[in-house]
Amino acid sequence: MSLDVQKLHKEFSGDDPQNGSTVALQDISFSAAKGSFISFIGPSGCGKTTMLRILSGLETATSGTVSINGVAVSSQWKYAGYVFQEYALFPWRTVIDNIAFGLDVRGVSRKERKERAMEFVEKFGLAGFEDKYPAALSGGMQQRVAIARTLINDPEIVLMDEPFGALDSQTRSLMQQFLLDVWQQSDKTVLFITHNIDEAVYLSQTVYGISSRPGTIGLTVPIDMPYPRDVTSDAFNNYRREILNFLDSQHRRT
């Protein structure tokens, strides 16, 4: 399914009227074809999280439209899964019960939940940990649980907000590889937020640069390289430089 975002605008009024309001997003427009991998990169506070929260239905836009296959959707829609930077696992649920949460709220029977969740446990390299609580897991494993928990619902669009930001660089590159594998075996559309230029270029088909407040799309870079990408190649370096220049100009602006 294709996603089309037109002139998304978000203004936070704030609790204190004296302080005025914050315009977090202004005129965000982009589209994503079915099965594409798109990254967003931009300075802190430019509204990336706000944008994903609107796309997930957790927040409503002040104005603008989000359409799926050309049809505008209301704020509460059910096509998107969300992976949080903080993992956001339920600490009182075991790994398998965390993964099965979406099935649980859909009323799938206990037996079927267990079977389906167990498939994800194996596929995500969590076998042997299914009965552990999240606190007993490493960061990389917790994030795999979080991704499995989102994907078991089979969302057509996967929103990921700096999912690997808290991981060490080695775990991070393993997880990037893992995510690419999962994405390539599916037809899911991934919208991925990162602060890391290499990560954006390594993973995505298109990188959007978001300018600082108010957030708007200031750069579009289609990455025309086959997977798996060689991070030491000239082509990779050129993309890297282009994005770096954009981010530098944003920092100078603020």
Binding site: R53, S56, G57, L58, K78, A80, G81, Y82, F84, E86, A88, L89, F90, P91, W92, R93, T94, F101, G102, D104, V105, R106, Y133, A135, R149, T150, N153
Partner: protein, 219 residues
């Protein structure tokens, strides 16, 4: 030493004669159980709703703060007017003693649940009811248990004091102690106090047992 002989007399002969210790304990426990359970089934759901809704919380909070400082024992006269002397008024007094600590810990437990867990549940397809049952309640459970322990402790203390002022049936640990005082038997008074302390302790052990069983994830 006298305490042990005192306890032995209480167990075997009873005070007044025939009303043995076991029966006193059972009557006291029954009153506490009624008041405590009533408090649990009202304070926990109310606490979860108040923790959830800021506007309701701000409306109800002044009322709660007005009633909370009134000692449960100060309610005895009105309880007797409303319910007469008996199990109902005893349970009502205990209920008042247990209610506020359970309510306040439940509210603070819900407030301590990270927003992002609610967001995660929503994006995974949870409706309001799922959020209540599968996120807010389990997330607030550690704090609720703290409230249950404090509430039951206060309820137990309140009960024994309430029984001082008279019970119709002639049973109850507080009643037993007052009887011992009336017949000038300090050994039985002290023995009664020891039993009260021990029973209160065992009640807490019981709650902690359930707490550890249902909160295995915290370790």
């Amino acid at each position: 030493m006298e305490i042990f002989t005192g306890i032995r007399d209480l167990v075997l002969q009873g005070l007044p004669r025939g009303n043995t210790l076991v029966l006193h304990i059972l009557y006291s426990l029954l009153r506490v159980a009624c008041g405590f359970l009533l408090a649990v089934v009202t304070a926990v759901p109310l606490g979860i709703i108040l923790g959830w809704s800021k506007s309701l919380r701000e409306t109800v909070a002044p009322v709660v703060e007005l009633f909370r400082p009134i000692p449960p024992l100060a309610w005895i006269p009105i309880a007797i007017l409303w319910f007469g002397i008996g199990l109902k008024s005893a349970a009502f007094i205990i209920f008042l003693g247990c209610f506020f600590p359970i309510l306040l810990s439940t509210i603070s437990g819900v407030l301590s649940v990270e927003r992002i867990l609610v967001d995660a549940a929503r994006t995974l397809g949870a409706d309001d009811r799922d959020v209540f049952v599968k996120v807010l309640i389990p997330g607030a459970t550690p704090s609720i248990y703290t409230g249950l322990r404090i509430g039951l402790g206060i309820g137990w203390m309140t009960l024994v004091a309430a029984e001082f002022t008279g019970v119709k049936s002639g049973y109850g640990l507080g009643y037993m102690i007052m009887t011992a005082r009336d017949i000038q038997r300090p050994d039985l008074v002290v023995a009664g106090m020891a039993v009260i302390g021990l029973t209160g302790f065992l009640l807490d052990v019981l709650i902690r047992f359930f707490e550890n069983r249902s909160l295995a994830w915290r370790k």
